[in-house]
Amino acid sequence: MSAPLFPCQEIGSLQKPSLEALGEWEDRLHFLARLGPVPEEVLRHPDVATLQNLRAAFAIAFLESAGLDRVYDGEARRVEMYEYAVRQMTGVEFQGHVRSWDSKYYRKGTVVNPVDLVAPYHLEEYDFVRDHARVAVKLPVTGPYTLADWSYNEYYLARQPGWKGRAQRRAAQRELVVDLASKVLRPTLRALIEHGCRVIQIDEPAAGTHPDEAPLVVEGFNEATRGLDAEFSMHICYSRYQDLLPALLEAKACRQWAWEFANRDSDGHDGYEVLKVLREYSDTRSIGLGVVDVHRDTLETPPLVAERIGRAAKYLGDPSKIWVNPDCGLRTRSLNVAYAKLEAMVQGARLARAQAEGRSA
C-alpha cells in the first residue's frame, strides 16, 4: 500500500519559550512526561542544560501535537542557525550584529584563519530528539554555502592578490565554501549518520543570494555529502528558484527541495507557478512545499492550504512528490500563532488528501 499523500513536516526553528510559557504549554502538551521524573525544584530553577532539555521536549511535543509526521526540536539548543554552527569551528571571530530586515538581526563572523572543525556538532541534540520523539525525525543543519555567504571572508580574500574586486571575491568564496564543506560539514554529517540520523535537511537560505553562484552551492552540497548515505534535502527560501536552475539539479545526493512559496502567493500572484520549471526539467525529487507564511501573523485557512497543495500538485504532475511544510522556520512567530499555523497546515493537507482521493475530509 502506498504512503498517504501530503505528509507534513517542519523546517526548523521555533521561538524559545520562557519558563512561564513552558508551564502554560505543559497543561496542553504534557511534554514533561517524556522526560521522566523531574524534581519540582529543578523545574523552578533549571540550569542551562535542563532548560534546553525542557525546551526540546516541549518543541517535539508541540510539533507532534500539531499533527506533523516528521519533527525536530525547534532548534532549542541553537542560538540561531548561523552563529551556533560557526561557534563549533575555529577560524571565525564575531564582529557584531547586522540587520536581516526591520529589527531582526544576526551576529556575523569574520573568517580570519582557515576554517576547521572543533568537534562534530548537533549530536547531543539529535540523540535527545531520537530518544524522545514518537514520529520520524528530520534534522536541519546549516549548509556550507550559507555559512560562507553569511560570513565576512577576510582570510581567503586577503590571500587574493591586488585590488579586491568581484573576481577576487568569487575565488576566495569558493575556497571558503569547499573548506567548510569538507572540513566542517562532512565530518559532522558522518557523525550524525553514525548516531542513526537518516533524514537530514541542509539549509541553504543564502543559495539565492548570488544566482550565478548556484554551481558553488551545489559544489558545497556535493562536497559535504560525498560518500554519505542519508535522505538529504535542501532548504532554500526567499529566492528566485528559476534563476538557480538547472545548476541546482546537479546536487547529487539531494532527494527533496524544501522551498518557500506562501510568502509570494497572494492577491492574484501565483507563488507556486515556478514548480512548473521542475517538471520541465523532469526532476523527480520530492518537494517540501511551503504553504504558510512565517513572517505574518495572519492565519492561513485549511481550505487555502489545500488549494495551494492542489495547485502545486497540478504543476508538478504528481501529488505523491509533495511534503507539506511552513515556508521556513517559525521562530519569528509567537508560539500561539506558530501552533495555529501548523494546525491549519495539517488540516489543509488532510483536506487536500481527501480531495485528491475523491472523498470528503
Binding site: W101, Y152, G165, Y238, S266
Partner: protein, 327 residues
C-alpha cells in the same frame, strides 16, 4: 597653465548600520521589554553621534537613516496607491525589504518623506545628502498591480520624486542621491531606457541648481554607462568593487564621478595605497570635474564597528587625494 584641482567630496551613500545599543533597544521593543520613548532616545543619541562623525570626516552628512527599515519603506508607507508587501531579498545580499505593492496610480503625500528624514538633517540641510530610491529601481522592486503600464509608471515615479526634490529643496536641501542599483544589475532595454532618461529629466527640472547623484552598485557598471552618461544628473556613481577601473571610458565633462571605494561585503580593511591607486586609475580612464567618494554597496551590510573603520578609511583616502592633489 596648471589645471584646477578636482574637488573631492566624500560621504555616506546608504543607511549606516544601527549601533549595538540601538539594536538591543529595537529588539527589546519588539519583545516588549522597553518603551518607545527609550528607543527614541537611543535613535537620537545614535544619530547625533554619527552626524558629528560625518561632519568631522566628510563633505556631506546623512545621520545614517537609522530609522528606515529599508530604502523603499517611506514611500511604500506614505505614498497613495502603495502598501507594504512580502519580504523580498535586496539584490545579492542577505538582507530583505518589504516589497512595495502598487494597487492604483501612485500619489505623493506632501510632507511625508520630509517628515521621515533623519531629524538632525533639518538643521544641516545645506550639507545634508538626501537619499531616495532611484525611479528605475523603485519601478523594478515594486509589484505593479495597478492598471498603469510600467513605462508610464516609470515616468510617473520620476514626476513624484521630482516633487519630493522640489519640496525638500524649498526647505534648503541641495544634494539628492538616487540609489538606482538595478540600472547596473539589470540594465533597462528598449523603451525603458527612454523612460529612465525622462524620469531623471523630471527630477533635474524640479530644481536645476540642486546636485543630483545617481548611485549604482551591485554589478559591473560598464554596460550601463552609455545610458548613465546621458542622464541629466550632476554625478554618476559606480562601485569600484564591482567595476574594474580598467574598463572605464571617458564620459561627458559636465558629469562628476562617484566612486564606491570601500566594500561592505568584507570586514577586511581596504589598503590605503591600493585604494588611492584605484581612484587615480579610474580618474585617468575617466577624467571628471569632481569626485564623490563613498561606500559602494550599502554600508549597513556591516556591523557598526567595522563600518566606522570603513568610514575612517574613506576619509583617509579623501585626504590622501587632497594632499597629493588630482587635476
Amino acid at each position: 597653465m596648471n589645471a584646477a584641482p578636482v574637488p573631492v567630496h566624500a560621504g555616506l551613500t546608504s543607511p549606516f548600520p544601527r549601533s549595538e545599543r540601538l539594536i538591543t533597544a529595537t529588539r527589546d521593543l519588539d519583545r516588549r521589554r522597553t518603551t518607545p520613548e527609550l528607543v527614541e532616545k537611543a535613535y537620537v543619541e545614535a544619530e547625533n553621534e554619527l552626524v558629528t562623525l560625518e561632519e568631522r570626516l566628510f563633505t556631506n552628512v546623512t545621520a545614517g537613516y537609522l530609522r528606515w527599515n529599508d530604502l523603499f519603506r517611506p514611500i511604500a508607507e506614505t505614498w497613495g496607491g502603495f502598501s507594504v508587501g512580502p519580504l523580498t531579498r535586496w539584490l545579492e545580499t542577505n538582507t530583505f525589504f518589504r516589497q512595495p505593492l502598487l494597487a492604483s496610480p501612485p500619489r505623493r503625500t506632501p510632507g511625508a518623506i520630509a517628515a521621515r528624514l533623519p531629524p538632525p538633517l533639518a538643521s544641516r540641510a545645506r550639507v545634508a545628502r538626501v537619499i531616495l530610491p532611484g525611479p528605475y529601481t523603485l519601478l523594478k522592486v515594486l509589484e505593479n498591480r495597478s492598471d498603469v503600464p510600467d513605462v508610464d509608471l516609470l515616468s510617473q515615479l520620476g514626476h513624484l520624486l521630482a516633487e519630493e526634490v522640489r519640496e525638500l529643496n524649498g526647505s534648503g536641501f541641495g544634494v539628492f542621491q538616487f540609489s538606482d542599483p538595478i540600472l547596473v544589475t539589470a540594465p533597462p532595454e528598449g523603451r525603458e531606457k527612454d523612460g529612465v532618461s525622462e524620469a531623471y529629466r523630471s527630477i533635474a527640472e524640479a530644481n536645476p541648481s540642486a546636485t543630483t547623484i545617481v548611485w549604482t552598485f551591485g554589478a559591473e557598471a560598464g554596460p550601463a554607462l552609455p545610458l548613465l552618461d546621458r542622464l541629466p544628473v550632476s554625478v554618476v556613481g559606480i562601485d569600484l568593487t564591482d567595476t574594474e577601473p580598467e574598463t572605464l571610458r571617458p564620459g561627458p565633462a559636465r558629469l562628476g564621478l562617484g566612486l564606491g571605494i570601500v566594500d561592505p561585503r568584507t570586514t577586511l580593511p581596504e589598503s590605503l595605497s591600493e585604494t588611492v591607486g584605484v581612484v587615480r586609475e579610474a580618474l585617468r580612464r575617466r577624467p571628471s570635474s569632481s569626485v564623490w567618494l563613498g561606500p559602494g554597496a550599502p554600508l549597513d551590510l556591516l556591523p557598526a564597528r567595522p563600518a566606522e573603520q570603513k568610514l575612517l578609511r574613506l576619509s583617509d583616502v579623501r585626504h590622501a587625494l587632497l594632499r597629493e592633489g588630482i587635476t
